[in-house]
């Protein structure tokens, strides 16, 4: 079955005073209909930029989508005219942003921000749209939706604003929702609720989901497949369970080791990955991860590794993994 969304060799650059930042470097991933994938990595690794590139929301100076294809149901989004692209946004693909506190227009009512998409894409009348907006608010768990529809964003808490964002995203029943770190800016108790909500909605409407996050706990529970990014490139991808239990890349292993886990004894040390992520203008030679990698060999400094199917349907961009050895996998869990 053909995937719903295919990203092939996407490259997006930013021109800054100090040089060209290759935020997204030859990245490929795909999402199937109704599937949930996760895009994982540290801050600044390019996950958000790749998502914005899909929707072509990159500010043209200083950014530029340099090459690649983004196929939605076979149509290359990068080649569409601005008008055609607008019809895709909100209607076929919608996005939930990270910062609920600044992602809503402060001078418009919540109702208006819901109905404008409905009136545009679904050609609803004002009254129909308002009724649907109330339904949407109820769907995302906001009490007294009839009353709150005329409230302004500042009258909602962060968690509730994020629910409104979810409502906006699902309003026109898109085929794919991109959720960019939807729970990072919200407290832990709300995080779980929001994720359950997003997952529930996507299941209910058979909407594909692309979850962008640096939180590995989320990955394990909500995604079918996961793509790990580092310094603008995909370094590993496979099914979520496999990657989680048998990471084929030292970076992924490092990420997993730095997160506290309930199934490990409490006294187990958390092992952070040493040093900082690289400056995207002054990338190291060869594998971008090698300065922080405990297992780097000479080849890692010399050649940029490419993605290789190390196990079945499990790919890794690591020279060591490609030789069959995975010294970072200490024991099977």
């Amino acid at each position: 079955m053909k995937p719903l969304l295919e990203v092939h060799n996407l490259t997006t650059n930013f021109h800054t005073q100090d040089g060209i930042v290759k935020a997204v470097d030859n990245v490929s991933y795909d999402v199937n209909v109704g599937e949930a994938i996760a895009l994982v990595g540290e801050s600044g690794c390019g996950k958000t930029v790749s998502a914005l590139s899909i929707l072509r929301l990159i500010a043209e100076p200083p950014g530029k989508i340099v090459s690649g294809e983004v196929l939605l149901d076979g149509t290359d989004l990068l080649k569409l005219s601005p008008d055609e692209m607008r019809k895709v946004r909100g209607a076929k693909i919608s996005m939930i942003f990270q910062e609920p506190l600044t992602s809503l227009n402060p001078v418009l009512t919540i109702g208006r921000q819901l109905t404008e998409g409905l009136e545009l894409h679904k050609q609803m009348s004002h009254d129909e749209a308002e009724r649907e907006a109330i339904n949407l608010l109820r769907l995302v768990g906001i009490s007294n939706p009839e009353g709150r529809i005329n409230n302004y964003p500042h009258q909602f808490s962060g968690g509730m604003r994020q629910r409104v964002m979810i409502a906006i995203a699902i309003a026109c029943r898109p085929q794919l929702i991109i959720a960019d770190e939807p729970t990072t800016a919200v407290d832990v108790t709300i995080q779980a609720q929001l994720l359950e909500l997003i997952k529930g909605i996507s299941r209910q409407y058979n909407t594909a989901l692309m979850l962008i996050t640096h939180n590995l706990g989320v990955v394990a529970r909500y995604a079918h497949r996961v793509f790990v990014m580092y310094a603008g490139k995909i370094v590993e991808h496979g099914s979520a369970l496999e990657v989680y239990h048998y990471p084929d890349h030292p970076y992924t292993a490092g990420l997993l080791a730095s997160v506290p886990r309930l199934d490990e004894p409490r006294k187990t040390r958390l092992l952070p990955i040493k040093d900082q992520p690289p400056d995207l203008i002054l990338l190291p030679t060869g594998c971008a991860f090698h300065p922080r990698c405990n297992y780097a060999i000479k080849r890692c400094i010399d050649e940029v590794p490419s993605l290789y199917e190390v196990d079945r349907n499990h790919y890794s961009a690591c020279w060591i993994a490609q030789t069959g050895q995975k010294p970072w996998q200490k024991k099977s869990s």
Binding site: L282, P284, C293, N294, Y295, I297
Partner: protein
Amino acid sequence: MVAIPKTEVVAVRPHHTIWGDAVIRLRRNKLAMIGLAFIVFLSLIAIFAPLITPFSFSDQNYYEVLEGPSAKHWLGTDQLGRDTFARLIYGARTSLSVGIFTQFIVLCIGLPVGAISGYAGGKIDNALMRFVDVMYAFPDLLLVILLSSVFRGTYFGGSIYMIFLAIGLVAWVNIARLVRGQILSLKTRDFVSAARAMGGMGNYITWRHLLPNALGPVIVSITFNIPRAIFTEAALSYIGIGVKPPNPSWGAMINDGFSLIFAKPYMLIFPAIALALLMLSFTFLGDGLRDALDPKLRR
């Protein structure tokens, strides 16, 4: 497989301090540099005025009244036989000194008032801000005029110090408000908590941590205050309650020349253009400073 030791150095981008960065950015701003150049140029002319022209601004020569530009009098003479060019460049002294020295008064009053108000908070803050609000409601030019009239009758009467005081006593209000606003916003910011956590307390917090950050907008505001002060002095002199003649002032020259606007327009043009250029220069400089010191534009 043996892991090799890390011997390479991870490359790092060059680091700039906040002031160093600001200077670099300012230098790059062409308009600001042009403005600065003009200000320096005019200042030099004003300082070395006696070396540039043999005439003084007050020498009257009844045989050479209302002459046009000539070799002897480069810009001609006015109705009292005074050399226009001399009055123009000595007038620069008046304008520049009013612009700059007024700011000292503004800072002497405004900075402490604003800082105390912002840091102390509570009743002191309230009282001071109510006072500021009232002063704000007063149309500032009119207040300056009133003060000027009052001072004229006193000992200073008609001297330039009176103008410094009149303008300064009205203009400090804006700076006080600005400083207070800065301190208030900084007080709640994270790095003050960090400083406190490290044991800083009371005055130490204010001086060491808050003021350097609050300074940016204050510097910009002062730079924009200068042309306003210059203009106010010119306006006062134009109306006739500025520096007493024969002290030179571009505003007074405009007033003098006004009745002759049809006959000898050049008497007005030069002081008017000089005033415009000086104010423009300070505005360009102010704009440049504001952009250079804006933390959001830092790399």
